[in-house]
Symmetry: C2
Subunit: 442 residues, 2 copies
Amino acid sequence: MKFPLLTRDMVNEFELRLSKVRMAMTEARLDAVLVGSTVNLFYLTGGVCRGYMYIPVDREPVFFVIPPAEPAGEIFSQIRKPEQIPDLLAAKGYDIPARIGLEFDDLYYSEIERLRKVFASSEIADGSRVMRRARLVKTPYEVDRMRDDGLRHCAVYSRIDRLRKVFASSEIADGSRVMRRARLVKTPYEVDRMRDDGLRHCAVYSRIDSCYREGMTDLEFQIEIEHVLRMEGCLGFLRVAGSRMEINMGSLLAGPNADVPSPYDFSMGGAGVDPSLPVGASGIIMKPGMSVMVDMNGGFNGYQTDMTRCWTVGEVGEKALRAHECSRAILRDLESFARPGVEAGELYRRAARIAEEAGLSSCFMGHAHKVAFIGHGVGIELNEAPVLMGRDRTLLEENMTLAIEPKFVIPEVGALGVENTYVVTDGGLENLTPFNENLAAL
Amino acid sequence: MKFPLLTRDMVNEFELRLSKVRMAMTEARLDAVLVGSTVNLFYLTGGVCRGYMYIPVDREPVFFVIPPAEPAGEIFSQIRKPEQIPDLLAAKGYDIPARIGLEFDDLYYSEIERLRKVFASSEIADGSRVMRRARLVKTPYEVDRMRDDGLRHCAVYSRIDRLRKVFASSEIADGSRVMRRARLVKTPYEVDRMRDDGLRHCAVYSRIDSCYREGMTDLEFQIEIEHVLRMEGCLGFLRVAGSRMEINMGSLLAGPNADVPSPYDFSMGGAGVDPSLPVGASGIIMKPGMSVMVDMNGGFNGYQTDMTRCWTVGEVGEKALRAHECSRAILRDLESFARPGVEAGELYRRAARIAEEAGLSSCFMGHAHKVAFIGHGVGIELNEAPVLMGRDRTLLEENMTLAIEPKFVIPEVGALGVENTYVVTDGGLENLTPFNENLAAL
């Protein structure tokens, strides 16, 4: 089992993430944090493994791994169960922490109770918040992994210039090791991974219209797109946060199915094809007069980009065209408005105002059922912090990565709008999913 | 949003499940249980919805639903947040329970802590165990949903005879409303759903060899099989229990990749194609001398059947053939041995003994990394109780549904063996995935 971040050439990235975790620990007055959830371990190691990473605020971390993972260096220690951790820490001369963070939002109740007994003499506090805080602002490496093909048209030198800017601004947000990172990103391995992640999502979307055949159902259309996604390297698996969020490889909504509410907290609904997974395509035949919204998942290398485009079958009428243009107008407005220091909730309020001025409030972000956000953070999981809703007071920071999805539902037509994934820069939003936004006919 | 079990014609099934939950509550001395996890709500309602079902041991349950779900009958009550529950219970004249079960293994720590405050005056106990106990023995309806095409060759009368037997035995296990259930299962809707679930998994497997083309990678082969699965109606989503179990639509292992350990607790490993999902197909080209193990998911209607078959490319040698036959011999042995009252662990021990007598211990259930079980319960989730490992003392009961998967890894060749999903009957195991088990060449 390989842990990319723990290998020698990735040690700087690991140190950078560790410093962000420790900064958050200091804010939360934690002496140590014990990380056991898959997502947070992936963040800390770049790999997936069973075990726990123990991070003291002032000493080297210890990564307790469970077989078949094997100890492969100073930082590793093999265990069969978490009850062995205190003795192993004592053997290394580590004190038992006075106050330790455990992942309240990422581990089941029973596991936290078990770990509480392991650290019986310690005060127990929430470690999930600490990890969320650390992950909120992305490192330059993470931005690079999520960055789309902004770089692909550039020659080597101009590419370096762009990367330098990303690094320079990270220094401001984090006050830390940005220049050291610049060297890492120049490696061919890095550039390849970055391309992998970004190019393929757009490449798949460029083939969507060729997946369509007249008389198809929405589900058949979705399956053909899934097939292209998989052939292009999508891992076929969507990491979604929260025990109540479930979806297969994405959502495709045609015609009136877009106006069917879903119990999940996604921006759009859809009936699904079975009561066990009531979201998305319903098996409806795509007919003239319908719009078709494709919100299918990226996910080629452990990171997600989130992207929506719409197509039409035949004529969809003036209101639908107007709604689609309104979505694009909102994106253009936010792309230049959103920047470090802006309140996340203000993005929602501006978007709602633009929709209202266009007389489209009643179908903005849903119709029969509306959601009160226009986007969300995105990274390892599809739905990360912050949530772009009216009351969210998070101040945007450089290198946050956001999916913004102003969408409309015209009951008789279907869903309209565009979703892009962006990285926050000090010049506004940089689009990580630059693909034609026109409403084209299938 | 429809809740099949709460509709009039499904009321008996709902009552049956409720009685099983209440029996488990009585054993655990609970006055009430509050169910909020998706999987357990699906069990209780047949649908997916955000909310909580409150079940007192001696009164009617109340289903608190969160919008967009709407109250549609006596049992429903709409809420925005769980803090509203106590007042609504008081308004209905319900006492606050002295001891309430919350799902320790199915909800995150922070949600349990929130609910603990909602029921601040109640003693809090584990409700996950209660729900697991209730779900351990399947109702006849559940068995029918999971039953494969055992019924498809039968005429109407012999079909009814078989169903009657299933019902008769449920009476013994549960002491309850089996005959009332018999009428439900005879409805065309039921028979259709039952067929949906079972027929399609085998139907897809019958098309696997036609997905193969010479020179393909294991991943390309898997993607073609996924495509057939989706076109046949598989929902493209695998419910797996546990925050550390992740997989896309199943596993396909070719040649030496079968001997690469994975951090997940599946029976077999595989490197995967990216460190973010290290399991299954690795992108290896399938070449003569390799075996190819296909363990792809069913999942057409909210229930899973679990099924593995193997193919070969060219000649794989005598040891591989012997291992495959040994797997089949183990299944034949257990099919007649396993029955109500037998200890689950004994299935593992018998299987290990047969493998040992065949001189195949070193490659039984893995080689570089071995697992210590030969199967597991299966139902709404892929991995349910019991686990068929040596030390499991669970006594088998009628209508438990088990996936049994005696597998072997010959390092230079690949994985061999067969997996079927069975229902426990008093005459032994009934195969829910009856499909050719031969080791055929691709």
